[in-house]
C-alpha cells in the first residue's frame, strides 16, 4: 500500500484509458494527472464522449486504466484484485447515479440498507444507520415506500442516503440532476452541498449543467480526454 499526502484524497498520475471498438483503439482519457484534496467538491464538465464518466468509473475502481496510477484514500487501486477492489469500494465510496439505480422491489429503507449488509453491523445497528441517513436526506416519512411510489427527486434522495449510509470518504455523482426538474435538481444540489460542508464529504460530480457546476469549489473541464481547468466565473461569462 502506498501512502499519499493526507490532504490529497484522489490522485491520478498520467492516467490513460483506451477502449477497443471494432478492433480500433478509441482513446478516452490521455495522460491525465489530477489531485483532489480531502473535503473538496469538484464538478467535472465536458461534452459527451469527453471521458467524464470514464474518469468517475476509474476513480471508483469499476474500470481499470490502460496506463497510469490511481490512488484514492491512500490506496493504489491498480494493485487491488477484482474482489479486493469490490470490498474496498463498499467501505470507501458512495455512488450516486443519474437514473438513481434503486432496486425497484425494495423499499427506501431496504435500498439504503443494502451497503450495510456487507458490514458486520447488527440488524439494530443497521436500522439506526439507515434512519439517520434517511433523516439527513429528509425522507424519514418515506421509509416504507417503494421507488415507484416516490417522485424522481425523492428517489435520488434515497440513492444519496444509500451512498451516504456507510459514511464513505468520497461521493461520486454521475449527472445526479440529469433526470430531474429544476426544483428537484436544486434540492439535490443543496443536499450535496450540505453533505460537503457539514459532513465534509469529498464529492466528484459529473454534470452537463453549469448551474450544478457552480455549487462546486472547482470545475474541471474535459475535452477529448484532457483536463482544462476553468474558473466558474469564466464559465458563467461564457453563458
Amino acid at each position: 500500500m502506498t501512502n499519499s499526502a493526507p490532504e490529497t484524497l484522489v490522485k491520478l498520475r498520467e492516467v490513460s484509458k483506451e477502449y477497443m471498438r471494432d478492433k480500433i483503439h478509441v482513446p478516452v482519457l490521455s495522460n491525465t494527472s489530477l489531485d483532489i484534496p480531502k473535503g473538496e467538491f469538484v464538478a467535472v464538465m465536458g461534452p459527451s464522449g469527453s471521458g467524464k464518466s470514464t474518469l468517475l468509473n476509474l476513480v471508483a475502481g469499476i474500470d481499470r486504466p490502460t496506463t497510469g496510477t490511481i490512488i484514492v484514500a491512500g490506496q493504489v487501486l491498480n494493485d487491488l484484485s477484482e474482489s479486493k477492489l469490490t470490498r474496498w469500494r463498499s467501505h470507501h465510496l458512495g455512488f450516486i447515479f443519474q437514473l438513481y439505480n434503486l432496486m425497484p422491489v425494495l423499499t427506501a429503507f431496504e435500498n439504503v440498507e443494502l451497503p450495510l449488509l456487507l458490514t458486520p453491523l447488527s440488524k439494530r445497528q443497521r436500522a439506526e444507520h439507515v434512519r439517520t441517513a434517511l433523516r439527513i436526506v429528509g425522507l424519514s416519512d418515506r421509509m416504507d415506500h417503494y421507488p415507484r411510489q416516490l417522485s424522481g427527486g425523492q428517489e435520488q434522495r434515497v440513492a444519496i442516503a444509500r451512498a451516504l449510509v456507510n459514511d464513505p470518504v468520497l461521493l461520486l455523482a454521475d449527472e445526479p440532476t440529469g433526470n430531474l426538474d429544476a426544483t428537484a435538481a436544486q434540492e439535490i444540489l443543496d443536499l450535496l452541498q450540505q453533505l460537503n460542508e457539514e459532513f465534509e464529504k469529498t464529492i466528484i460530480m459529473v454534470t452537463h449543467d453549469p448551474r450544478a457546476a457552480r455549487r462546486a469549489h472547482r470545475m474541471l473541464h474535459l475535452e477529448k480526454g484532457t483536463f482544462v481547468e476553468t474558473e466558474l466565473d469564466a464559465l458563467e461569462a461564457a453563458g
Binding site: N57, I62, F95, F97, L99, P104, L118
Partner: protein, 388 residues
C-alpha cells in the same frame, strides 16, 4: 448476502413468467414422482411378497410357477421330507398347488384382455401365506366351483367382482370372497380349490409348485439342498424372496423407462428454467451493475441468482409433489414378464420418492440457473450500469 426478499419480490414482480416456470417444473416433478412411485410400488409388492421361511418348489428349469410341472406322486414324497413346519394342530404347512393362466377381458370399453393367474390351493395353502385374510364375503369351499380374489383384481377384470362369475377354462367360478395378502403378489391372483381347478382344467395328478413353510433358515437350507440334490425329483427349491427377485424384471423395465423419462423431462425443464433466468438477468442488468458498484462481490451475485432459480424450482417441486399425492396408493397393473400375467401394485410416494423429486427440482434450479447466474457475474459493471 443480497437479501432473499430481493429474489422473492423479483419473482413476484414478473409473476407471469415465474408462474409458468413453476408450473412447467411442477409438471416435470409430478411426472417424475409418478414414475418413481410406480417403480417403488412395484418393488414394494415384490419385496413384501417374500418370506425367507417360505420355500417354493418347482421343476428344474422352470422360470416361474406357470411353466412348472410336478407330478402329484413326487409332490407327496416332498411332503415326507424333514424340515417342513407344522401348525398347532399338527398339520404340515405344505401346500401343493396348481397354477394356470387364463386370458380374461379387462373391465372398461376397449380395455382388451390380460392373462390372469388362477391358483388352485388346498385348504392349508392359506395358512402358508403371511398376512392372508378374507376382508369381504367368505372363503371358497373345497369341492365347489367357488373362487376368491383381491379387491384390485375384482375391480380390473370382468367377472372377478364379488358375486360375479369368472370363466376359467369355460367353467364358471363364483367369486365368493375378497382377500388381502399384505399387498403381496398374491393379490394379483384368483384362488380356488386345488381339486376343482384340476378337474376344470383337466390336469388331475399334476401340480405346478409346492409352497412349504419351514421353522428356521437352517431348515430351509437343509431342505433346499435335499430337494435339489435328489436327481429323482428333478426339482429345485428357492426361498420366496429369491423367487420374487427373479420376477422383478417387470419392475426393471418400468424403472428404466420411468427414470429415462424423468431424466429427459428434467433436462427439458432445465432449459426452461435457464430461459427464464437469462431473461431475468438481462432485464436486471442495471440492478446487477448497481449491486456490484455498491460492493457486492461476484460470488454474492452468483449466489443470489442461483438462489432465485432454486426458489423457482422448489416451488415447482412442491406443486409437483402435492399434485401427485392424491394418486398415492392408487393401484395399477403391469405385465409380469416371468409369468406373462398381470401383476397389480400401487403407486407409493414414500419419503424416498419425494426426496428424489426434490433432488430433481434442486438439480433443475442449480443447473438451469447456473449459466444465467454466471452471465450475471461476468457483466462488466460499467456496461451493466449503462443498461436501461
Amino acid at each position: 448476502m443480497v437479501p432473499i426478499k430481493y429474489n422473492i419480490r423479483s419473482l413476484r414482480n414478473r409473476w407471469v413468467s415465474s408462474l409458468m416456470t413453476i408450473l412447467g417444473t411442477g409438471l416435470v416433478v409430478w411426472a417424475s414422482v409418478l414414475a418413481f412411485g410406480l417403480a417403488d410400488g412395484l418393488d414394494h409388492t415384490l419385496a413384501i411378497s417374500g418370506d425367507p421361511l417360505d420355500l417354493i418348489v418347482m421343476r428344474k428349469g422352470a422360470t416361474s410357477e406357470t411353466n412348472s410341472i410336478i407330478s402329484e406322486s413326487t409332490a407327496r414324497e416332498i411332503d415326507t421330507l424333514a424340515g417342513v413346519a407344522t401348525d398347532a394342530a399338527g398339520n404340515k404347512l405344505y401346500s401343493s398347488e396348481l397354477v394356470v393362466v387364463v386370458n380374461t377381458p379387462r373391465r372398461g370399453e376397449q380395455a382388451g384382455s390380460a392373462n390372469l393367474i388362477v391358483r388352485g390351493v388346498p385348504p392349508v395353502g392359506k395358512q402358508v401365506r403371511t398376512g392372508f385374510r378374507i376382508v369381504e364375503g367368505r372363503e371358497n369351499k373345497p369341492g365347489l366351483r367357488e373362487a376368491i380374489t383381491s379387491r384390485t383384481m375384482a375391480r380390473r377384470f370382468v367377472g372377478a367382482g364379488l358375486g360375479e362369475k369368472l370363466d376359467i377354462f369355460d367353467a364358471p367360478f363364483e367369486i365368493v370372497g375378497i382377500f388381502e395378502a399384505g399387498g403381496s403378489a398374491s393379490e394379483s391372483e384368483v384362488w380356488t380349490d386345488l381339486e376343482v381347478l384340476a378337474q376344470a382344467t383337466k390336469r388331475e395328478g399334476v401340480r405346478s409348485a409346492l409352497q412349504i413353510r419351514v421353522n428356521s433358515p437352517d431348515d430351509a437350507a437343509t431342505l433346499m439342498n435335499r430337494i435339489e440334490n435328489d436327481e429323482q425329483f428333478g426339482l429345485k427349491a428357492v426361498t420366496e424372496p429369491q423367487y420374487f427377485l427373479d420376477q422383478a424384471q417387470a419392475g426393471m423395465a418400468i424403472k428404466i423407462v420411468g427414470r429415462t423419462i424423468a431424466i429427459v423431462l428434467t433436462i427439458g425443464a432445465m432449459f426452461a428454467v435457464a430461459n427464464t433466468m437469462y431473461a431475468a438477468v438481462a432485464s436486471r442488468a442495471r440492478e446487477i451493475g448497481t449491486l456490484r458498484a455498491v460492493g457486492f462481490s461476484r460470488r454474492t451475485v452468483l449466489a443470489s441468482f442461483l438462489l432465485e432459480s432454486l426458489l423457482l424450482c422448489l416451488a415447482g417441486g412442491a406443486v409437483g409433489c402435492l399434485g401427485a399425492l392424491p394418486l398415492n396408493g392408487l393401484s395399477t397393473g403391469t405385465a409380469n414378464w416371468a409369468t406373462f400375467s398381470e401383476l397389480t401394485f400401487s403407486f407409493r410416494f414414500g419419503p424416498a420418492v419425494l426426496a428424489q423429486a426434490v433432488l430433481l427440482a434442486v438439480l433443475m434450479g442449480v443447473i438451469g440457473g447456473l449459466f444465467p447466474a454466471i452471465r450475471a457475474t461476468r457483466m462488466k459493471i460499467v456496461d451493466a450500469l449503462r443498461e436501461i
